[in-house]
């Protein structure tokens, strides 16, 4: 099978905030950068981010500093966060936000003409720079224009299905064009994975169709490690009715701007769960509070809670939350300036992901970097609102700079064996050639139900074990998927390939969740309902075991002890330490991706 070959100094997989920021940083140093994305440019999941980006400017509350932001982030993450990464995040965020304005972004303003900041759950001060309720769009549009005008090559609607490495380093990536199904091989000394999360593993999610976790699986398949995979964030306020919009996000900005939560008895039930912070408690607490109210029979007609902002009055709402107003009016026939919104928790963000070096975002594989939601470390057991966009900017830039520096130091391309490429292509095409086999839509629906049922907001040991068994059964069925039609823009085929990543990551979530026998942040075990200080010292690292199965091991949290104690200058360089996390992992060759299970058939 013929394929196109393209050379790139730095290949960025993903054009969300992290990928574009990485591309901009690398291109600024003069190296040649390419960005691939599953969708068109500017459509990545980041475009949906609403509430804002956290940066301790202290424009509204002079007492705010990066140290307070650091404390808030560590506390919200239940101290599983990598303290050095949190320091970098909170120190650098203001500069990263400000430089966006130099590239054309415009944030909302205070009376005196400075960048305005809004309150958000569990932030001690008003901290989120924002543009109404469409901050992500401002971010992505700015970075997209910046990247394009810096000469970054954009490859839209190309899906990467395989990474290649040799014994030494990363060698390239294989993908296919959605438009015609033709394959394209990127030969490159460095790859930055910035593919976002895997919210689509769950049936109720705020995430877009792209979030199937491809990049985490790709990196894992060549030897990178995964960490904190059990930490799945449920956002407390997703839309609930009508069914078609179930899970769609209702921005935390609604609560930040004064929105109140009520149960069916018109009680402000948060008094029972966090009387101090009330609606602005952390997401894990608010989400579980809602589900407890529903379980206690105090839920709304469709099984959720009421969120009401109408007391702020129409002019205020129209100015601050115009997108939310439109969303409810058009999709749910609800006018939020007069009526409450019916909401329920929805899967929103993955705290876990690829393990990286704090300063450079390097993975365990030489030449391979990860940044953005796909990477782990900053958010610990629970992410603070607004910290993801800050994360994309801070660590996207760091990954881009580090990859560019590596290319300059060591531009030597590694070889990719033709047989490996042909094998990968044959594997990818296999579902199109079969006359019988499992239907990817059916497998996906089953998987999403399984995750929601067994790896949801409230977990139990037995449920997790059942879920894991179900996922393993689905993996066996998915070995021989079958789809109709040809390779040209065929969503059924695209899904068949996406499923490979989804099934691996689903397994990783289960094995980690089974291992962590306590409740911490987003991970709640009914059979171990308390936070256990002994567990607070460990992250869970997932690697590939002997026979393709996954293995979990504990590793001490980096810098947890000093961070908890220190306020002045948390985490020195010694806590993170340069170098590569974990062992070398992969054994050379392309490693076994989820798809390699099919290898014997083709």
């Amino acid at each position: 099978m013929p394929y196109e070959v393209v050379h790139q100094d730095v290949l960025v997989i993903g054009a969300g905030g992290a990928g574009l920021r990485a591309a901009v940083a690398a291109a600024e140093t003069g190296v040649q950068v390419g960005v691939v994305t599953k969708s068109l440019l500017g459509k990545a999941h980041t475009v949906m981010a609403e509430g804002g980006v956290a940066a301790a400017f202290g424009h509204m509350d002079g007492q705010d500093t990066w140290q307070v932001h650091f404390q808030d982030t560590m506390k919200s993450g239940h101290f599983l966060n990598n303290a050095h990464m949190v320091e970098l995040l909170t120190r650098e965020a203001p500069d990263r936000v400000l430089e966006l304005e130099g590239w054309g972004a415009l944030f909302d303003r205070t009376e005196t003409g400075e960048i305005l900041q809004r309150a958000f759950g569990a932030h001690s001060f008003r901290r989120l720079a924002h543009v109404g309720d469409r901050t992500g769009k401002e971010l992505i549009r700015t970075l997209q224009n910046r990247a394009v005008h810096q000469g970054v090559a954009v490859y839209p609607e190309i899906i990467i299905t395989r990474l290649f490495r040799d014994a030494r380093r990363i060698a390239g990536a294989l993908g296919y064009r959605r438009a015609d199904g033709r394959f394209i091989l990127f030969r490159t000394p460095t790859v930055i994975v910035a593919t976002g999360g895997w919210g689509r593993l769950y049936s109720v999610t705020s995430n877009s169709w792209e979030t199937t976790g491809d990049g985490a699986n790709l990196a894992f398949s060549v030897g990178a490690e995964l960490v904190d995979m059990e930490m799945v964030q449920f956002h407390p306020t997703g839309m609930l009715w009508p069914p078609g919009v179930r899970g769609l996000l209702v921005t935390e900005g609604v609560r930040g701007e004064g929105g109140l939560l009520y149960n069916a008895d018109h009680e402000r039930f948060m008094t029972r769960y966090d009387p101090e912070r009330m609606e602005l408690s952390t997401r894990d607490v608010v989400a579980r509070a809602i589900s407890s109210e529903v379980a206690a029979g105090r839920g709304t007609p469709h099984g959720g809670a009421w969120l009401d902002i109408s007391h702020r009055g129409a002019p205020f709402i129209l100015r601050k939350l115009p997108g939310m107003r439109d969303q409810f009016l058009q999709l749910a026939d609800v006018d939020i300036t007069r009526q409450p919104m019916e909401i329920a928790p929805t899967v929103h963000y993955m705290m876990g992901g690829v393990r990286v070096d704090p300063d450079t975002c390097a993975t365990a594989v030489v030449g391979l970097y990860a940044a953005g939601e796909v990477a782990a470390g900053v958010h610990g057991a629970n992410r603070l609102g607004g910290n993801s966009l800050a994360d994309l900017l801070v660590f996207g830039r760091r990954a881009g700079l580090a990859a560019a520096a590596e290319v300059r130091d060591d531009p030597q391309l590694s070889e990719i064996a033709e047989t490996e490429v042909q094998l990968a292509i044959a594997e990818a095409l296999a579902p199109l050639g079969r006359t019988a086999g499992a239907n990817p839509y059916a497998i996906q629906a089953d998987l999403r139900r399984t995750m929601s049922q067994y790896a949801g907001l409230i977990r139990t040991g037995t449920g997790l074990t059942q879920g894991l068994e179900r996922v393993r059964a689905l993996q066996r069925q998915a070995v021989s998927l079958q789809v109709t039609g040809g390779p040209a823009f065929n969503p059924g085929w695209n899904l068949a390939l996406d499923l490979q990543a989804m099934l691996v990551l689903a397994e990783a979530i289960f094995v980690s969740a089974i291992e962590r026998t306590e409740s911490r942040g987003a991970h709640f075990r009914e059979d171990f309902p308390r936070e256990d200080p002994a567990w607070g010292r460990f992250n869970l690292i997932t690697t590939r075991g002997g026979e393709g199965g996954l293995r979990v091991r504990r590793e001490p949290v980096v810098g947890a002890e000093p961070a908890a104690a220190r306020t002045e200058r948390p985490a020195t360089a010694s806590s993170g330490g340069p170098g590569r996390p974990g062992g070398s992992g992969g054994s050379g060759g392309s490693g076994g991706s989820g798809g390699s299970k099919e290898a014997d058939q083709t």
């Binding site: 304005e101 944030f107 003409g113 839209p156 438009a179 823009f489 065929n490």
Partner: protein, 259 residues
Amino acid sequence: MTEAAQRAHMVTLHIYRGDQRGGVEVAYDVPVEPGQVVLDALEYVQEYMAPDLAVRWNCKAAHCGSCAAEVNGQPRLLCKTRVDAYGGADIHVRPLQTFPLIRDLVTDVSWNFDRARDLDPAFRPNEPPPFDLPQWEVDRVQEFHRCIECFLCQDVCHVLREHGGTDRYWGPQLMVRFAELELHPSDAGDRLDLLENEAGIGYCNITHCCSDVCPENIEITHDAIIPLKERVADRYHDPIGAWLRKLTRRPAASTGSGE
């Protein structure tokens, strides 16, 4: 009607299936759900009837602009168009007409991205940030930042659609992009030459059709195109008047209603 009865109820979608070589509308019966949008119905078709039905979508929340198509001849976002808005009548779904078809409901919109790349210079600040700006000046520019790049306006603009004018005129969406840069209070770039020549702003005859279909309610004609046309006219046809107007510029002009 009870919820159960509503669910038993069906609606017929006629979906364009085909590629560059040709195609036809194919009918699919889909159960009606409360609050369902056309994209929900298409997903149902994908899951149970035609897994290879090509349609773009990402956010399903009217934020990303991926799902632009024509519903009963009107350019629409599929994720924002309610099935019940058609009162149970058959619904025809076709791809955008202005751009070359890839497959089914998916068109090749790369021309728009190529023009965005040609739009040079990009933002060029006259001083480094932070910019000390009042909210009203920010608002004026943010209107253009609302654009989700759905290209519905490009689809409906007669210069592009009926007269195949992509070689002469860049279309309303790119005019919005020009306006965002040109009207930015801290921008020092000059793009009027490009606007007058390659981008062909003169071909727009202010029919307002683009503004009517914009899902972000951007007043494309009044707030973007007319102020840009004024700038071009000032530069090329009335430089002295332009200078006088600049001296007397006041905030009220920010609404850009064309005065």
